[in-house]
Subunit: 256 residues, 2 copies
């Protein structure tokens, strides 16, 4: 098995090292990740400029490829032939959860989408470390082990084509995790607010501020599963059609 490991936080982020080490227990691993942080970058494919690829070393001394492209580029280049045939693409471990509408912004998730568009299974892994005290360094160890269990299942199982897995892991020890549960996308509640400030030269500038987003704690959703201490596995699709709205809209009288 050949597993491609990428992320959107950059090749030197601690989460990707933990993920790569866990995946090495399942097969041959190639790490190919952006040379910088692309968090909240969305789904980007670089067509207007060429990309550079360099070799670099991770903190455990192993080799990784890095590119000046976006997370999706770091999936596209290997799958287009830069490396040998890939059986699975995993992305992460993102330091924060990607739940609810987050999935439409997340570079971690779009890297997995890019794999699935190319016909290779893709899994995005995110750790809800926003739930830990800020003064404690993030421990990716338990999350990496949970990620290994999920990836192993996907390699053994028969995941349908076109399914992206979005996995969120609670910030708990492996023993404290309640298990792995399959969920639907929950509701995220954003609490953004416009924060107008004035710079030292008297000119205004704006932060998208406000409180951190929360989620609606509902059973069966990614939000609810995380809050209950479960590893949440949400299957995502790339067909964004709102089928329920189709018939309503078809009943409208449209005239050019």
């Amino acid at each position: 098995m050949h597993i491609l490991v990428t992320n959107d936080d950059g090749v030197q982020a601690p989460g990707i090292l933990a993920l790569a080490q866990a995946m090495r227990q399942l097969g041959q691993v190639t790490v190919f990740a952006p040379d910088r942080n692309w968090s909240a970058s969305g789904h980007v494919k670089t067509l207007e400029r060429p990309l550079r690829v360099h070799e670099t070393l991770l903190a455990d001394g192993t080799t990784a490829f890095t590119s000046d492209g976006a997370p999706s580029d770091c999936v596209a280049l290997p799958l287009l032939g830069f490396v040998d045939k890939v059986d699975l693409v995993v992305s992460g471990i993102n330091p924060y959860s990607n739940i609810g509408y987050d999935v439409t912004y997340s570079g971690t998730v779009t890297a997995a989408m890019e794999a699935v568009i190319a016909g290779v299974p893709g899994i995005a892994f995110s750790l809800a470390s926003q739930d830990k005290p800020a003064n404690i360094p993030t421990d990716y160890g338990p999350a990496a082990q949970a990620a290994r269990r999920v990836a192993q299942k996907v390699l053994e199982g028969d995941l349908s084509e076109g399914v992206v897995l979005n996995v969120n892991i609670p910030y708990l020890s492996l023993e404290a995790m309640q298990g792995i549960t399959v969920t639907r996308q929950g509701l995220r509640v954003y609490r953004d607010a416009l924060d107008r400030r004035v710079d030292p030269r008297g000119r205004p500038y704006y932060w998208i501020g406000g409180e951190a987003p929360t989620g609606v704690d509902e059973e069966g959703t990614d939000v609810g599963a995380l809050l209950a201490g479960y590893v949440s596995v949400t299957p995502l699709q790339l067909d964004l059609t709102h089928y329920k709205a189709l018939d309503v809209l078809k009943s409208w009288e449209w005239k050019i």
Copy 2:
């Protein structure tokens, strides 16, 4: 009615001017768009740095706001209170169609998504001008008129919350267009290929090359509608859950 007009090609792109002029026939218009091209930028929200907002003039002498943020930021800032209450957000007119999986990459579409997440109807408009000869300047006139008809319907109608409209317009005169039809997201076929080259200093670099993407011509889809000369209106949702895959995955034996 107060309509916010934005795009992902930058405030000085011809498509946004045509769209703003058409929307002025329906109500009060505020143009708020990025100061540069963000095509294929995906869904981005800028949280790590503050944003600047400037006034600028469009080619018809009207005022517009521009920001150094992404398309979604140019929706978030006005909706968070930079301008008065907004009734509708329209994005475009993108010079190329956004069909099939394109919607997961498209900045034009994500601007409309950002509006819907904030509870305001959002419509993305794209023109299939890739179908015209490259040596003819793009005429956004007929597309702008078609966009006006669609926007008018949405303002009159009762579009459900959570529905993003993705509208693709064929590159035809208004008379030649076959009508407006409601569609589902079709299948895009990407023909990307890795194009390795060597720079003048002997170092490799990579283009994501290959042929232009094509689509599967299927009735009832955005791809099929465009090819048949129709304006395609596809309702999109922000719940990406792959519901068909849920039960299959739930039947797997998951162990932490």
